[in-house]
């Protein structure tokens, strides 16, 4: 598949503070790409650079291979769904959606047809005459999506579009956005700080921190094979601690040697080890090598979260089995669930 958008060596700074540090990214056509990171990581700036609202000091933006770096926002063939919807309060739903078509001087009957299509697409039939301020947050968001899509953009940019909605509504809108993306067959570039949202919706996740890309990959890759402790910690919950790679397929931590599936780090090299809380199996104390004492137990709905103190670490375990605080247990980790990363400066433990 060809790249629809490429960012080449983009550098953005405001008042001397670097927001994007020589940033490179290629986005394939018809993909659902999510830019994920904590606030201040540069994800929104990346989106605004593509939209044309931010002029990078260095670097180029390519759209279908053409350099659009100098093209002002209103001439770019991308449309944006804004964080706070940014609907025009002085227009009704119909006129909000028709805005882009009126600007391009589309004939009236064509406008009516397209607006009707869009209202059907976002499930807002019959809302034409409604005042936008009388709509709920979810409905306003649908209008914002319809308004952006009516111009047939090849790329839709979404800046934390579900951030203001409550959990249940957010889940519903996630599915709806996916359906709309499949139905329209266009590229979505989605900005969020919600890792679960990113994993649920994306074809490709771009994890960012401090204006730099930490990892690009499918949701499975990002979750199962985090590139560094930051990604491991940001995507889901993790136990991250220092260990030593004895040789290929054998790692040591807590003074115990564990077989694993990673290789190529060398022999007797310090590494970071990641184990997801749900990948640790609880056994009775006499049945395992790695033992610990339960310190706290929290009910989380689907599972219990237990903090378990072993000789050297405090483990976080998610399990549907419940143990009482003070219980002695053993922990079993199978080789596939032990993930080894190159040691980085600043790792805890």
């Amino acid at each position: 598949m060809k790249n629809i958008i490429e960012l080449k060596d983009i550098h953005v700074s405001f008042d001397g503070e670097v927001i994007l540090d020589h940033f490179n990214l290629a986005i394939k056509d018809k993909e659902f790409v999510t830019l994920l990171g904590p606030s201040g990581c540069g994800k929104t700036t990346t989106l605004r650079t593509i939209a044309g609202f931010v002029q990078p000091q260095e670097g180029r933006v390519l759209f279908e291979g053409q350099d659009i770096s100098k093209l002002p926002a209103h001439k770019r063939q991308v449309n944006t769904v804004f964080q706070r919807y940014a609907l025009f309060p002085h227009y009704n739903v119909y006129e909000n959606i028709a805005f882009g078509l009126r600007i391009s001087k589309t004939p009236e009957e064509e406008i009516e047809k397209r607006v009707k299509e869009m209202l059907a697409l976002v499930n807002l039939k019959g809302y034409e005459k409604r005042n936008v301020s009388s709509l709920s947050g979810g409905q306003q968001q649908r209008v914002a999506i319809a308004r952006a899509l009516v111009n047939n953009p090849k790329v839709l940019l979404l800046d934390e579009p579900l951030g203001a909605l409550d959990l249940k509504l957010r889940k519903g809108m996630q599915n709806e956005l996916l359906r709309i993306q499949r139905q329209m067959g266009i590229t979505f570039i989605y900005v969020t700080h919600d890792q679960e949202e990113a994993l649920t919706m994306s074809d490709t996740v771009v994890v960012m921190k401090d204006g730099l890309i930490q990892q690009i990959g499918t949701p499975e890759d990002i979750y199962n094979e985090p590139a560094n402790p930051f990604v491991a910690d940001f995507i889901g919950e993790s136990n991250i601690f220092g260990g030593k790679m004895i040789r290929d397929y054998l790692v040591e931590f807590e003074g115990i040697e564990f077989p694993c599936v990673d290789a190529g780090f060398g022999e007797n090299v310090a590494v970071d080890v990641v184990v997801r809380p749900e990948d640790i199996e609880i056994l009775d104390a006499q049945d395992g090598m790695l033992c610990g004492t339960v310190e706290t137990v929290t009910f989380k709905g689907v599972h219990y979260e237990m903090m378990v103190r072993s000789d050297r670490f405090l483990w976080k375990i998610h399990s549907i089995k419940c143990r009482e605080p003070g219980d002695k247990i053993a922990m079993k980790i199978i080789p596939e669930y032990i993930h080894i990363m190159k040691k980085e400066a600043g790792t805890v433990n």
Partner: protein, 263 residues
Amino acid sequence: MRKFFEKSYMALIFGFLYLPIAYLIFFSFNEGKSKVIFSGFTLKNYVNLFRDEEIMQALLNTLIIAAIASVVATVIGTMAAIGIQRLRKWQRNAVMNVTYIPVLNPDIITGVSLMLLFSIFGITLGYGPVLLAHITFNIPYVILAVMPKLRQVDSSIYEAALDLGASPALAFRKAILPQIMPGIISGFMMALTLSVDDFVITFFLKGVEVETLATMIYSTTKVRIDLSMNALCGVMVLVVLIILILANLPQKKSGNKKREERI
């Protein structure tokens, strides 16, 4: 007892406010020449008023100066407000403080200083200086009326219009302008009223050839007793009353909705 005081308090206030005006208008219908002895009803003062070329010229001057000054001030003031809104915070505060100075300054200082300014540059006082002065003192009021509206506008709405293909000028006209229109209109109305109303500044800058209603009434009442001035005041009160009633009519119809918009 308490009710009685409440009522008389109100009566006192309205009495002080409106009795002098009522008195003035009452004597505009006086047959005789006196301003204190009513000797019979007539409309001749009104007829004279509209036949008096001097007064009609002053009225025309007032309306032309007010119209031009308020339109120009509204345009400049609105543009200034947009510029100020985009400044950094400390710059914005600095400019806004400078904007407040002419508003708080006594008119007489504005009038004298402008008169000195024009004479330094050797400009003959008259129509031009009066017009420039009116535009100048109106601008801050327009800025102060537009700024709060502008501050309410979500800046991403402008970006949304750009994003949907509108050029910057069109995006402003379609997305921003309709939202700040109430502020612009109230700024314009304020400028218009202040301009019609102004005496002090006009007095210093008018030179010998130009008279507005305010300066005309002042100079006339000083030298002669003329009841057509009373008639003129009567007409002005009537016009203001009509404007007030018209301005309040649509508001009553749509009730709370309009009021919400204002807040």
